[in-house]
Each structure stands twice: as structure tokens, then as C-alpha cells.
């Protein structure tokens, strides 16, 4: 196999001299590979909490106000006799949303794979600043601790929805969770934002400055393009959420009126005057919408890479893929108003946002078709990572298509804030991004832990998850179109919706089974760290640079000099070569032309 590089050719070990203690190696590590693992494992724990919460509130929806052993066990004093109260229900949906969007799919996904892959795939010894990278992780960790600790506050955690619209989130008398719980939420998010900003700046600097010789921007794997653009979106939009959080803290604690005006609550008029909750909605969604692309773009990058590698084919339309990432990134910053069609903002703005929103369907369609063409006439290696990638495209299409309805202001009027929305965004950014994350974990597990995950468990995990994901979210479109609002603790006050009860039970059943299927994954993940089969250097026979590093992690990534790059990352099954992949560090053969990609 001439195509793999033997890293033991150059035994100079110039970067190999740090004496490391347990603390510097595993806890306050400066090494990007270790930090990636820290992100992943922290994200996994947050994910377990988030998914458990969703199963609990799904049970409440299916069997409203019935005593439940699980509630009694997990919620303790919040569910006296095992009956969940309305406040706890709202707290659960709020924290579920927050944890899944920010802590799992932003930090867990972007944090893990940007850290792991950026230096390895561009040919750098580490991130531009290892120290800032460590600070970024520890800020994330602190924000996790604060968020989780808010679950133990006397009056309960934040319960105003993950969008924390004021005045509900600003006034403790409006909702129990808007006291200390909300303060902790805001502090946690402020720290989280600082963490992601530091991380994002580091990613941007590293990608721009530290690419190895020959690694031009148009030779970057699509993963790196996705992480790079994601970081840019994060830098542009996260500070706006920080400002919104700070202004909300001012309103809550220092009597300002940025978001509040003319409020009469519990028998008294409050002093606030002149603010507007709509302003908060603008600030929130100026981050909030790009945020969904911060979640989905890295998953798209991972999936593109995995699909090409496992199809043994170049990704179709490499330049179109980059162009569509850039188009999506640009458009993502000018569509936030589609969350606010019925917020009371000027209807003319609604027209503008309908236009920009529906434009996003174009680059998204290009990406979907390019993925499908990538597997066309391929030689598909059905590794678990590949299954999750195909699953990603499937849910991305299903979920994305209903965006045409929600993005259309005239139609949004009637399905806004119903289960239709839940179905849409869970499929298109929740499940899809989760699939992207799983695909990435299965694929780069050998790189992270030097061992392989069990493929059969991976198959079982995928197929149960895939069936349950559709089982949960597909019917939700229909109960949404029947007019059922989201965030209702119980639908029993509305006989109108009684004919949806059975559907809700079915959905909850799928959710429970899907949740349990994740135990298979957790088992596979944690057991394989210690007992998995030892990985080869390049188990998937991929072309990118990370597979030229030794299996054992060494500081500085390559024992010898950093390899140079001579070709794009998708030379799979290229005619004229004996093997079906040519790594990027193999010089062009005589007379071989680099594809004009």
C-alpha cells in the first residue's frame, strides 16, 4: 500500500519532550486532541440530561398528570407523588432546548470536531493558541456546571422557553423560574458565549494562518470549510445574544426598561416604561437563527467528508459545496425575522424576511442534490458513520422541506408555535445535527481514542434511532397542522384536540424507545475506549491528513516534519491509480493533472 505514509521514517521527535503530569495531560490540557475529547464527553453528559428531560415531558404529554415512577425517581420533590406540575413541565422544555441547542449541538459538536480536525486536517501541530483553547473549554465547563446547578434552585430553573422572551423571563412574579433560575441561566449563557467566542476566534486564526505547505483554501476538506464558516458566523452573531443577555440582566436587576413597558402584574403597576419585548426578539433571533446554522454547518461538513470517503468517490461539486456554505452563512444573518412574523413587527418586514428565508432553500437544495449525486455510482462502504450520514441527508430533506411553509409568512400565521414548528426544526437541525455528530464520532473515534467502536452495535443504534426519529417527529407535522400549540403542559383543557391524544401516545412510545437506543451507543462509546479493537492508522482508507498521524496521540501531531499537500482531499477512485484513494500528501504522478475542481 504505497498510499499511506509511514510516519516512522523520521524519528527526530523534536516536539516530544514535555513531561506531563496527570493534571496537565487530562485536565488542564493544551493539546487540541485532548480538548476535543473533553468537549465530547462533557457534551455527552449534557446530552444525556437533555434527552432524559425530553422523555419525561413527552410522558407528561401522553399521559397528562398521571403519577409516573420515573418522575418520582428523577424529579423528587418537584413531582410530589410522581405527578409533574405545569411549572416543572415548562422548566423541562426550557432546559431541554437550551442544553440541546447550545451545550450539545454547539459546544459538543463544533467544540469537539473543530478542535480535533482543524489542526489535523490542515496540517498544523496544534491550535494557534493552545492556552485560549483550554480557557475556552473550561469556560464551557463552568457554564455547564452553572446551568446544571440551576436545576437545583428552590423555585426551579428558567421556565420561559429556551428563547427566554421577556417580560416572562424578566419578572419573577410572572413565573417561578424567572427568579434565581433565570439569573443562573443568563450567567451560564454569558460564560458560554465567551467560551464560544474564544473558541471561534482560535479556529479562524488557525485555519487562516497555520495551513501546511500546499494546503490552499481550495484544497481544504469541506469539514474545515464548514468549521471555518461556522466560527465566522459565531463571531458575528453570538455577541448580539450576549448584549441581549446583559440588557435583560439590567432590566431584571437594575430597574432599566430595555424590554419592558406598561406592566400590571399581581395587582400592581411596575415602573417600567418605553421598552419593547420585540427588541429582545430581534436581538435574540439575530443570534438565534444563525445559531441553527452554527449547529448544522459542522454536521454538513462532517457528512460531506464521510460520504465521500465511504462512497470511495469525490464529493460531487466541491466548489458548489463551498459556495453553498458561504451562501447559507451569508443568508443566515438576514433571515432572523421569520421567527417574528406574528410578533407585531411591521408586516412589510415580514415580506422581506419571507423573501430572504425562502432563498436559503436554494443553496440547501444544491447541497442535498450534491450529496445524493456523491453516492450515485459509488462503492458504498456501509460503516455506521456512513449510515448516519445517509440518515442526515434524509432527515435534512424531510425537515428542510417544511421550512418552505414556515418561511412563508402567510402560512406561518397559522402554524406558528404549533407542533409543526417542533417537527420542522427537530428534523432539520436537531436530529440532522445529532446524526452528523454521531457520524463524526463513529468515523473519527479511531483518531480520538486509538480504538474502534463496535460496528454491529453501531448498526443497531442507527436503525432504531432512524425509525424512532421519524416515528416521533413525522406525525408532529400533522398535529401541528391540526392547530395544537407547543409548550402546553396538557391538552386536556381543549376537547378540540382530544382526537390527537392517541397520536401523542404513539409519539411518546417512539421517543422512549429512541431514548433507550442511545444506551447502546453510550455503552459502545465508553466500553470501546478501553476494550475496543486497536485501530489501524487509516482504517477507513481516507485521503485527509489526520490519517497520516500515528495512532497514539503525540504532542505536535506528527513525529517528523508536517507533510506537504499536493492535491485536493477527494481523490477517491481516481483513474490511473492502483488504489482507490490517494492521500493529499502524495505528490502528483508524472503527467497526472490535479482535477480542476
Amino acid at each position: 500500500m504505497s498510499a499511506t505514509i509511514d510516519t516512522h521514517d523520521h524519528e527526530d521527535h523534536e516536539v516530544h519532550h514535555h513531561k506531563q503530569t496527570f493534571i496537565t495531560k487530562y485536565i488542564f490540557s493544551l493539546d487540541h486532541k485532548m480538548i476535543a475529547k473533553q468537549y465530547l464527553i462533557t457534551g455527552t453528559f449534557m446530552g444525556i440530561i437533555g434527552i432524559l428531560m425530553s422523555i419525561m415531558f413527552r410522558m407528561q404529554i401522553a399521559w397528562p398528570s398521571e403519577p409516573n415512577v420515573l418522575f418520582e425517581a428523577l424529579l423528587g420533590k418537584w413531582a410530589p407523588d410522581g405527578v409533574m406540575s405545569a411549572d416543572v413541565y415548562l422548566a423541562l422544555v426550557t432546559i431541554h432546548g437550551t442544553i440541546m441547542v447550545f451545550f450539545v449541538l454547539t459546544a459538543g459538536l463544533s467544540g469537539t470536531f473543530s478542535n480535533l480536525l482543524i489542526p489535523l486536517q490542515i496540517g498544523a501541530r496544534d491550535m494557534a493558541s493552545g492556552f485560549l483553547n483550554m480557557v475556552s473549554y473550561w469556560l464551557f465547563f463552568i457554564s455547564c456546571v452553572i446551568m446544571v446547578s440551576s436545576l437545583f434552585v428552590e423555585a426551579g430553573p428558567a421556565a420561559a422557553g429556551w428563547t427566554i422572551y421577556p417580560p416572562l423571563s424578566a419578572l419573577p412574579m410572572a413565573s417561578g423560574g424567572s427568579g434565581l433560575g433565570m439569573t443562573l441561566w443568563l450567567v451560564s449563557m454569558a460564560i458560554f458565549i465567551a467560551s464560544s467566542l474564544i473558541g471561534a476566534l482560535n479556529y479562524i486564526v488557525t485555519v487562516i494562518n497555520m495551513r501546511t505547505k500546499g494546503m490552499s483554501m481550495t484544497r481544504l476538506p469541506l469539514t474545515i470549510w464548514a468549521f471555518f464558516v461556522t466560527a465566522v458566523i459565531g463571531v458575528v452573531s453570538f455577541p448580539v445574544l450576549l448584549s441581549a443577555a446583559l440588557l435583560l440582566i439590567m432590566d431584571r436587576s437594575f430597574g432599566t426598561s430595555f424590554f419592558l413597558s406598561d406592566i400590571f402584574i399581581q395587582g400592581e403597576v411596575l415602573h417600567y416604561q418605553g421598552g419593547s419585548p420585540v427588541l429582545f426578539e430581534h436581538l435574540f433571533w439575530f443570534l438565534g437563527h444563525p445559531e441553527v446554522y452554527i449547529v448544522i454547518l459542522p454536521a454538513m461538513g462532517l457528512v460531506s467528508e464521510i460520504m465521500a470517503s465511504n462512497s470511495r468517490k469525490p464529493i460531487f461539486g466541491y466548489r458548489a459545496m463551498i459556495a453553498s456554505i458561504l451562501a447559507i452563512a451569508f443568508l443566515s444573518t438576514i433571515v432572523w425575522g421569520h421567527h417574528m412574523f406574528v410578533s407585531g413587527m411591521n408586516p412589510f418586514l415580514g415580506s422581506v424576511f419571507t423573501f430572504t428565508t425562502l432563498l436559503i432553500a436554494i443553496p440547501s437544495a444544491v447541497k442535498a442534490f450534491n450529496w445524493i449525486t456523491t453516492i450515485w455510482k459509488g462503492n458504498l462502504q456501509m460503516n455506521p458513520a456512513m449510515l448516519f450520514s445517509i440518515g442526515f441527508v434524509s432527515t435534512f430533506i424531510t425537515g428542510g422541506l417544511t421550512g418552505i411553509i414556515l418561511g412563508d409568512s402567510a402560512l406561518d400565521i397559522n402554524v406558528h408555535d404549533t407542533y409543526f414548528v417542533i417537527a420542522h426544526f427537530h428534523l432539520v437541525m436537531g436530529i440532522s445535527a445529532l446524526y452528523g455528530m454521531f457520524a463524526g464520532i463513529y468515523h473519527w473515534y479511531p483518531k480520538m481514542f486509538g480504538r474502534m467502536m463496535n460496528k454491529n452495535l453501531g448498526y443497531i443504534h442507527f436503525w432504531i434511532t432512524a425509525v424512532c426519529a421519524y416515528g416521533v417527529f413525522f406525525p408532529m407535522h400533522f398535529i401541528g397542522m391540526a392547530g395544537l400549540p407547543r409548550r402546553y403542559y396538557s391538552n386536556s383543557s381543549f376537547p378540540l384536540f382530544d382526537d390527537l391524544t392517541n397520536t401523542n401516545v404513539v409519539i411518546t412510545m417512539f421517543a422512549i424507545i429512541g431514548g433507550i437506543a442511545q444506551i447502546i451507543y453510550l455503552y459502545n462509546f465508553f466500553v470501546s475506549i478501553f476494550y475496543g479493537k486497536k485501530a489501524e492508522q487509516n482504517p477507513w482508507r481516507s485521503t485527509t491528513l489526520e490519517w497520516t498521524t500515528p495512532v497514539e496521540h503525540i504532542h505536535g501531531n506528527w513525529a517528523g516534519p508536517i507533510p506537504h499537500v499536493y492535491r485536493w482531499p477527494y481523490d477517491y477512485s481516481k483513474p490511473g491509480h492502483d488504489v482507490d484513494f490517494v492521500p493529499q500528501n502524495i505528490p502528483l504522478m508524472e503527467g497526472e493533472e490535479e482535477l480542476q475542481h
Partner: protein, 352 residues
């Protein structure tokens, strides 16, 4: 009981999975599996891809079959509602076609091109014509949808003052709704939360001095005359609420500190809607389901027999009882409406 049942099922499934895990573990002892997919894996998963495609189609058909008689696609009760429904149906058809085709291609290719040892993939990196085709097709389809959508949107949101719509205030508070009719002058009296005087029963903070307020009427059940344009001016006294009237294809947030508005013309009276065949079926179905859990419903104090009514729901998370914030809407003939309105107390008379 159901909850206990669930827990037991959950436990069984967990045990089943645990057993599967064990079997896989045992099966792997002593083998030289690389954990990289081989031809057998490719084949099995290739076939499963087809099975999954069928599953996706089946769940689509089942959803349409069992929960697809969407009341929100057929029984709009407002004049603009049928336009919204048309657009919705067109969008759904487009989505359905694209979904069916793309899911087929994706899963069929995954099956057809499942890997075999020694086979080489087709090196196919780019094709500008194809890229152009699938850029331009969405552009054309979306252009159509955008144009149709924007016309509909403008139509709904631009309230035609020439039609002299009846002005009604919708007032939201944790956790109920009030409506204020503007009376004969069709102008609402000024109001602000700072004027709320609970002792005098001025719960909406209406300005008692304002001449326009003298004929205002505050009620807690919304009556609308059929065929008469209405414009709702919405206020909230505490947190965000959203006035959601699904049958009228109407929704607008109520925002403390500002007045928002939404206008429509109700087109079907409550009595007529109750007599529509699909509504009779729906109500019958609901009542059958309700009779199965009669004891529970009666215990909660609800009427056992459901009768259809239009509703105004709160659709923006607003606190503990968000799930039970509603107001009945009754659409009736102009004569019935006038008679009802005459019986209501005007604002000055409602004060203590």
C-alpha cells in the same frame, strides 16, 4: 396505571437491548473483526435502506390516513382563510413530490451502489450543467411560492379601512382573555395599565374620562357577526401572549407596551360549522374517545359531551396556566349579534 405499564415496557426494552449487547460481545470474542464494514455489512444495510425507504413512505401514508383529515386544510372560517389554505395545499403538494423523489433517490442509490470488494467507484467530481439545473429548478419553484405567498400575506395584513371594519380590543393577562367592543362610535376609548383600578372593576385600565370609552363594552366571550370585517387591536398587561384563532387562520402576539393588530372577516357561523359533515364526524369521533375516559373527564369538572366551538387560544408561553388560557368565539348572524350586544353592560355601567 398506564405510567406503571410504561415503566415496565421501558424496563423490558432495556433488558432486551442489554441482552443484544451481550450477544454481540460474545459473538466477537476470538474473531478478527476489524470493525470496518465488509461486503456482508454492505449488503445487509443496503437492503435495510430499501426497508427504511418503505418505512418512510408507510409512515407518510399512515399519517395522512389516520390524522390527515386536517381540519386546518378544509374548514377555514374566514374570508382570507381559503387563500391561505390554497397556498398551504400547493406548498404541501410541492413538498410531497420533492420528498418522495429525493428520498427514493437517496435510499435507492444507497442500496444499488452498496460496496463490493474490488469494485471501483465512478470518478465523477463535477458537472456544471447538473449544478445549474438543480440551482435553477428551486429558484423557479420558490419564485412562484414567494410571489403567491407575498400577495397573500399583504392581502391579510393590510387592513382596508374603507371597509369600515368593526374595532374590537383583545386584552390578554395571565391567564385569560377579555374583549372590548368599541360600541356605536367604533372607536376604542384610551387605555393604559396605569389606569387599572381593581377596586372599581376597571380591569382593562380604560380611561373613564375619554368620551370614546363611554360606549365601550367589555366581555369575556367573543361574539362576531358573520360577513363583517373585524379588526382586533391587541394588548397585554403582563407578559407576551399570542392570540391564536386557528379556524380563522389568524394569529398575532399581544405585546405589553404596544398595540398590535390583526383583521379578518368571519365567513361561517358557529351553527353552520357545526353542521358541516366533516365537523359532525370529527365531533362524533372526539365524543367516542371522551366516553372512554368519562370518569376522568367528569372528575376534572369538564362537560363530558363536546360541542364544537371556535376558540381563541394563547400560543406564546406565558407561565403556569398557559395551557388553559382560552376564550370561546361565537360567530352568528348580524341580528343575533346585535341582540347579544344590546344585553351587555357598557363600560361606565360596569364600574363599581
Amino acid at each position: 396505571m398506564t405510567a406503571l405499564f410504561t415503566i415496565i415496557i421501558v424496563l423490558f426494552v432495556a433488558v432486551a437491548i442489554w441482552q443484544m449487547v451481550k450477544i454481540f460481545d460474545i459473538a466477537q470474542v476470538g474473531t478478527t473483526q476489524t470493525q470496518v464494514a465488509d461486503d456482508k455489512d454492505n449488503k445487509i444495510n443496503g437492503y435495510l435502506m430499501i426497508a427504511f425507504l418503505i418505512f418512510v413512505y408507510v409512515i407518510t401514508i399512515l399519517c395522512f390516513w389516520f390524522i390527515g383529515d386536517l381540519p386546518l386544510l378544509s374548514n377555514a372560517a374566514s374570508e382570507h382563510g381559503s387563500k391561505v389554505d390554497n397556498l398551504m395545499i400547493i406548498s404541501l403538494v410541492v413538498i410531497f413530490i420533492v420528498q418522495t423523489i429525493t428520498q427514493f433517490l437517496l435510499h435507492y442509490f444507497a442500496f444499488k451502489y452498496k460496496g463490493e470488494k474490488g469494485k471501483k467507484a465512478f470518478f465523477y467530481a463535477d458537472n456544471n450543467t447538473l449544478e445549474f439545473i438543480w440551482t435553477i429548478i428551486p429558484v423557479i419553484v420558490l419564485a412562484g411560492l414567494i410571489i403567491y405567498g407575498l400577495f397573500t400575506w399583504n392581502d391579510i395584513m393590510n387592513i382596508d379601512e374603507d371597509e369600515d371594519p368593526m374595532v374590537i380590543e383583545l386584552y390578554a393577562q395571565q391567564f385569560n382573555w377579555k374583549a372590548r367592543y368599541s360600541g356605536a362610535d367604533n372607536v376604542l376609548g384610551k387605555a393604559n395599565v396605569r389606569l387599572i383600578d381593581i377596586d372599581r372593576a376597571n380591569i382593562l385600565g380604560v380611561d373613564e374620562e375619554d368620551p370614546n370609552a363611554q360606549d365601550d363594552i367589555i366581555v369575556s366571550e367573543l361574539h362576531l357577526p358573520v360577513g363583517k370585517p373585524v379588526v382586533f387591536k391587541m394588548r397585554s398587561q403582563d407578559v407576551l401572549h399570542s392570540a391564536y384563532m386557528p379556524h380563522f387562520r389568524a394569529q398575532m402576539n399581544c405585546v405589553p407596551g404596544m398595540v398590535t393588530q390583526f383583521g379578518f372577516t368571519p365567513s361561517v357561523t358557529t351553527a353552520d360549522m357545526r353542521e358541516r359533515p366533516e365537523m359532525i364526524d370529527k365531533v362524533k369521533n372526539i365524543n367516542e374517545l371522551r366516553s372512554e375516559r368519562a370518569a376522568e373527564i367528569e372528575e376534572s369538572g369538564q362537560e363530558l359531551i363536546y360541542e364544537f366551538d371556535y376558540l381563541l387560544l394563547c400560543n406564546k408561553i406565558c407561565g403556569t396556566s398557559h395551557y388553559n388560557m382560552q376564550m370561546k368565539i361565537i360567530v352568528e348572524t348580524q341580528e343575533e349579534f346585535d341582540a347579544w350586544l344590546k344585553e351587555q353592560t357598557t363600560f361606565p355601567n360596569s364600574l363599581n
